[in-house]
């Protein structure tokens, strides 16, 4: 039967948790009846054991990195070290409005992380505020806009250039900042079409947003030229850090000419994805953008008693605040822990192994009968296509029966039936071999029986959901 909803397990009078009991005046007396709600919210009422069975059962209906290979392209589903969780617990009780002298350890950690991420990206200053990659993009593009406004070019620079292979967040971010989006095409090399790019440039361009390597997993070899051309027309260059796992420890966006860069700590720096968040998207900038950073920023100050860490909320041209408090502090602790664990050599090993794994898997998939879009040495990910007559969606669903999570499908948009595959560095060759073998087996089955794949998966708790029905008449909450 259906797995019950927690509301369907509910029975009036049951409960799992026991907070301190009230014992004083009534709420009517303390607050006034006019402020009180008429009826309590209908939250579930279950015993602690029923609660445990429910969420244990749900956990068993969920694939995860800890259980399964999970090669979602551009998502960098690498292993999340458990020691990071121990580190985060050390700071779980701190309050952001405590006296700064009482939280010097937390502030020092933030300061160190700002410094380390600046070094890793080759930038001059870093904000840790943004709560996700897309939030980092918003922060960065807001800063670019403020920069242009400060120079009196706010009214004229209205365009943001993105490649047609870009992540959807890039154009969506530009729109949120009030910019128009201009797309430039991808050349046959898999890189940005340089001529088209040059043609798109002009004095109306505020920013160019690039991912490098791009979503095809290909390094933009013309990056220095692109940067020069953009800067020549007064545009700034934004680095979407979603693919930073390909270059971490080996190359730095700052050296490539980027003015602003965000990093996804939940990708490159192993904070858990949590089923879709919380992420964290710190943003680094070159010196000329430093004064536009959002506040607060952590600074180190020299005092007669030694160095001390404090919170700076007064930047002259700050874009303002991007979110409350110090950002996703818990994840900042995790990422800091990861960076300290790996050190400089370890970080370089990350990109080395990530790129090695991706290239190995590319070759294996070619052998297994898949077409590689832009088949050249790639970086951390690559895009494959099933042979004619086989749909990517069917391949993805069939993979579920092998205990593996599918790759990203139908992205980037410029590749028909795209399968975007990022194995990450923490997977073994044995796992990659098993994945390639599963894909080969799926193609074999497709040839032997045309009905085999369209009906897959067969062994999952539910099979092929009716998504049209879900969208046509949305049921978005339980009603008894």
């Amino acid at each position: 039967g259906d797995f019950p909803l927690i509301f369907e397990r509910s029975k009036p009078g049951r409960r799992a948790a026991h907070p301190p009991k009230p014992d004083g005046e009534s709420l009517q007396a303390l607050l006034g009846a006019e402020h009180l709600r008429a009826a309590p919210p209908k939250l579930p009422e279950v015993s602690e054991l029923e609660l445990v069975r429910h969420y244990t059962g749900l956990a068993h209906r969920q694939m995860s990195i800890d259980g399964n290979f999970y090669p979602l392209g551009s998502c960098t589903m690498k292993y999340n070290p458990k020691v990071n969780e121990e580190a985060a617990k050390l700071f779980a009780e701190l309050h952001p409005y405590a006296d700064p002298d009482a939280v010097q350890g937390a502030l020092e950690l933030l300061y160190n992380l700002q410094r380390d991420l600046a070094e890793i990206t080759g930038m001059d200053a870093v904000t840790l505020q943004p709560a996700a990659g897309a939030h980092g993009e918003l922060t960065g593009i807001l800063m670019i806009r403020a920069f242009h406004e400060h120079r009196g070019e706010g009214a004229t620079r209205r365009v943001v250039i993105v490649p047609d292979s870009a992540h959807g967040t890039n154009p969506a971010t530009a729109t949120m900042v009030g910019y128009e989006v201009k797309e430039v095409p991808t050349a046959e090399s898999g890189e940005v079409d340089l001529a088209a790019f040059r043609a798109a440039l002009g004095p109306e361009v505020a920013a160019v947003m690039l991912t490098n390597p791009n979503t095809l997993g290909i390094f933009e070899t013309n990056i220095l030229e692109i940067a020069r051309a953009a800067h020549e027309v007064g545009a700034l260059l934004y680095y979407d850090g979603a693919n930073a796992n390909a270059i971490v420890g080996r190359a730095r966006p700052g050296d490539m000419g980027f003015d602003v860069v965000h990093l996804n700590l939940h990708k490159t720096f192993t904070t858990p994805h949590g089923g879709g968040g919380p992420g964290t998207g710190p943003v680094g900038v070159k010196a000329h953008l430093r004064d536009f950073l959002p506040t607060p920023i952590i600074k180190k100050v020299a005092t007669p008693e030694g160095e001390r860490f404090d919170v700076d909320v007064d930047l002259p041209h700050s874009v303002g605040r991007m979110r409350s408090f110090y950002g996703n502090f818990g994840n900042l602790v995790r990422a800091y822990t990861y960076i300290r664990a790996l050190g400089r050599e370890g970080l370089r090993g990350v990109s080395s192994a990530a790129v090695l794994n991706a290239n190995y898997l590319r070759v294996k998939l070619r052998e297994a009968g898949f077409k590689i879009a832009f088949d050249r040495v790639n970086m951390h990910e690559f895009v494959a296509q099933p042979p004619a007559g086989v749909k990517t969606l069917d391949v993805a669903k069939a993979l579920l029966d092998y205990g593996m999570h599918p790759m990203t499908v139908y992205f980037p948009l410029i590749v028909r039936e795209a399968m975007m595959i990022e194995p990450t560095e923490t997977e073994s060759l044995e796992t990659l071999d098993a994945f390639a073998a599963a894909l080969a087996d799926i193609l074999r089955r497709a040839q032997e029986d045309p009905d085999a794949l369209p009906n897959a998966p067969y062994t999952t708790p539910v099979r092929r959901l009716d998504e049209v029905k879900a969208a046509r008449k949305p049921v978005l909450r339980y009603t008894p």
């Binding site: 006019e34 009030g178 089923g275 605040r321 990350v350 290239n359 949305p474 909450r477």
Partner: protein, 452 residues
């Protein structure tokens, strides 16, 4: 240390399969000039040294014997079972449930979360979570601007100052005018709402802890054809009138209080719950019910045409990752408490705050108004709040969130209590206040100095 499985033989085997000589050769597309030598980072640490380093940092934070800090985040009761269940690795290490067949765990839990937020707020449609309360308020204003096609937003000064800052950051580039409604005697007076106003935003309890006349504010907004955006503390909705009851169109807020640790400010999660007509304007993820091939009930991400990965530059927001795990933790926690537990906790929290206010008044710190407050309130101080906070911290008491000068209240601070506050905690605070505010001469000198 590192987390790589690669042995030297593995590397050799992979290189041979690829047909290149070395790992460096795979990076041949990178211009020589771009290849960095050594980053200026320390060498990696073994796990024991790593935890020693982190523990040493944590030890630089002062131990807290009792806390009365609030200002948007509070240390509420979270039973041990909540993190135990929410932090199962199947939830922690999964990603966005793009493949529903193998993601029913997160999808169903999110559907249940949406239902709980709908119940708490009294509005029908909740999304799957936002980054935090502040960005949720900003997204709510953008929603109103889109929906109404109007370019002015009224926000009460009672909304958290940091939230108002974020709101300003988000609205500025879109050339939406943002106006503040100043407080009168610490709550929001009925504002004049022009016909060009997209929405009125007010917070209950407000930043200073006091209960706002939300029904009147909603009516004022609606009278001008504007939306009413209610910023609320979901913990308080156990007992306070719900946004649905007073006719709010959008309920937003920060969910930390119903199941996330304070964690120096994050992560926790924002929520957004709206009325039916606003559904297609809603930013962020939504989980809907449907059936599978065999007719079984199942859950799936739905109405994705609003989102950036489908609509790109025409999306309702650029939001991609939300705060799924923090929201899941709240869902587990709300299920653990149930309506009774949540009501008891809220009631005890209010009772403790009123006890605290009485004890502070007896100690000479009078409240700034006698209007009703929930579990936090403002008092006038004889010294600067920053100086008092620092002095109390020396006694192991975390208290006295400074009221920003923009409120025009002089030296004033917020004090909060929760259901976890004990009489002994309050005794500690009162004793520390006694020492700090009527100290021996040398401590007094320090206090004055720190207050400069």
């Amino acid at each position: 240390m590192n987390y790589l499985p690669h042995t030297p033989e593995d590397v050799a085997r992979a290189l041979a399969a690829i047909g290149v000589e070395s790992v460096d050769a795979l990076f041949g597309d990178l211009p020589e000039a771009l290849q960095v030598g050594e980053l200026r980072l320390p060498e990696g640490l073994d796990e024991a040294a790593l935890l020693r380093h982190l523990r040493a940092l944590a030890a630089k934070n002062k131990p807290v014997r009792a806390s009365f800090l609030g200002g948007g985040l509070k240390g509420h009761f979270i039973p041990a079972v909540t993190p135990h269940l929410a932090l199962q690795s199947e939830f922690v290490t999964a990603y966005t449930p793009y493949q529903p067949e193998v993601s029913q765990g997160i999808l169903q839990a999110t559907f249940e979360f949406q239902t709980m937020m709908s119940e708490l707020t009294g509005l029908p449609i909740s999304n799957a979570s936002m980054y935090d309360g502040a960005t949720a308020v900003a997204e709510a204003a953008l929603l109103a601007v889109r929906h109404k096609g109007r370019h002015r937003v009224l926000v009460s000064q009672g909304v958290h100052p940091e939230t108002r800052e974020v709101l300003a950051t988000y609205l500025r580039p879109l050339e939406v005018a943002l106006e503040e409604v100043a407080l009168r005697d610490l709550t929001t007076p009925e504002p004049a709402v022009g016909e060009d106003v997209a929405c009125v935003v007010a917070q209950n309890p407000n930043f200073l802890g006091y209960l706002e006349p939300m029904p009147a504010l909603a009516e004022a907004a609606h009278a001008a054809g504007a939306l009413f955006v209610a910023v609320c503390d979901p913990f308080s909705l156990a007992v306070l009138k719900s946004p649905g009851e007073y006719g709010a169109d959008v309920a937003v807020g920060d969910g930390q209080t119903v199941g996330n640790p304070v964690a120096f400010g994050g992560p926790h999660f924002g929520f957004m719950v709206v009325t039916e007509p606003l559904l297609r304007q809603l930013p962020g993820r939504l989980v809907g019910e449907t059936t599978d091939l065999e007719g079984r009930r199942a859950f799936v991400l739905t109405l994705q045409a609003r989102e950036q990965h489908i609509r790109r530059s025409k999306a309702k927001s650029n939001i991609c990752s939300n705060h799924q795990l923090s929201a899941l933790m709240a869902a587990v926690n709300l299920s653990a408490l149930g309506p009774q537990g949540l009501r008891e906790a809220a009631t005890k929290s209010v009772q403790n705050a009123h006890l605290l206010a009485r004890r502070l008044a007896e100690a000479g710190l009078a409240p700034l108004t006698h209007k009703p407050f929930f579990n936090e309130f403002a008092v006038r101080l004889p010294v600067s709040a920053r100086a008092l906070r620092r002095a109390l911290a020396e006694h192991g008491v975390a208290a006295a969130v400074p009221v920003p000068a923009s409120y025009g209240l002089g030296d004033a601070a917020l004090f909060a209590a929760t259901e976890l506050t004990t009489p002994e905690d309050i005794d500690l605070l009162v004793a520390a206040l006694g020492r700090v505010l009527a100290p021996p001469p040398t401590e007094r000198a320090n206090l004055v100095e720190a207050s400069v």
